[in-house]
Symmetry: C2
Subunit: 199 residues, 2 copies
């Protein structure tokens, strides 16, 4: 079964009908250089995957707990009509978020991956939000919080990595690789938010 026929509704990594990313592979390579992303990081991301994937549900509980306890964040999962949380939406996005943990540790940084990054960015904006799940939620997630999320998405993963059968030095390297991978994705996801030519 190929990825785009995945059991996770709305998941499209590898779907050949996705439009091409506006970012080229050559630009991606310069980005990786800028954020000090090397082969060693790819290696430690794979190792991080071995540790994190079995803990996916516990990780998602932490992240959803964080979002749920901050009204200004939960807002983005609420129904536009009455501002109540849309539980169905939260649940469907959670499944894709779980898949994303695996994908982040597995990424091959190829053209398909790049195309899907753009789609993930679009899904956070008024151009794509709510469409995948056909919900009537608020229209747009502000970029400032996407960039800010680098911190909690990095910090909260550390205790899960420390549970690994790894030396402190290895845990540190897995964590650094994870953080770089998150920063890289936030950058790619920011593209649809930026004025033409300014990205």
């Amino acid at each position: 079964m190929s990825a785009y026929q995945s059991a996770v509704p709305g998941y499209r990594l590898g779907d050949p009908s996705l439009p091409q990313s506006p970012v080229s592979l050559a630009e991606l390579d310069l980005l990786k250089q800028t954020l000090l992303f090397t082969e060693e990081d790819t290696y430690y991301l794979r190792k991080a995957g071995d540790v994190l994937v079995p803990q996916t549900d516990a990780i998602l509980d932490v992240w959803y707990g964080f979002v749920g306890s901050h009204p200004h964040l939960l807002h983005y999962f609420t129904n536009k009509a009455d501002a109540t949380p849309n539980m169905d939406y939260l649940g469907r996005v959670r499944a894709r978020f779980g898949q994303w943990i695996k994908d982040t540790t597995d990424a091959d940084y190829g053209q398909s991956w790049l195309n899907y990054q753009h789609e993930l960015g679009v899904r956070h904006t008024r151009a794509g939000k709510n469409k995948t799940d056909n919900v009537a939620s608020v229209e747009h997630i502000h970029l400032r919080y996407l960039i800010a999320f680098i911190v909690p998405i990095s910090a909260t993963i550390e205790p899960f990595l420390n549970k690994a059968d790894a030396s402190p030095d290895e845990a540190r390297k897995m964590h650094a690789a994870w953080t770089k991978a998150v920063v890289l994705q936030v950058i790619l996801w920011s593209h649809p938010y930026i004025k033409p030519g300014d990205f």
Copy 2:
């Protein structure tokens, strides 16, 4: 002597004639919550300042070495006419960058500080770049690299913090506070790049 009469040419923190930031103090507070920035971070930033400020020149050597060894980054300091590095420009920005290390560890996150953050963002874009130093360099720094710089600006500071007379736990907390402070500033600096309403 007030800050805006500083000896560093072009430095304007505290200048009352700066326009008001488009980001409000209430929005800033929500951003701080989102990136887990607390009073403890303010405390450890001050401590980091004690350690980092005396090492300013050595830190700038590392950062300038990083930029200088990557043509795609050095590009932003080159003359538009012939693509050669503008040494004068590099030198003047370096003085403000040194001041910024101190300011980052000292920040009071008040209205003046917020106004200057917006100005610093604008100075990285086609709306403000080159004006402070009256140079004929390339017009615009792409936002993707501003976000990417979170990683090197965070990672390269770690060894300088470890030189402190501090426990590993304290060094870790200073480093976390530093990283949050950098992410927060990159967010604020991104504002002029973003489509209206999307920030």
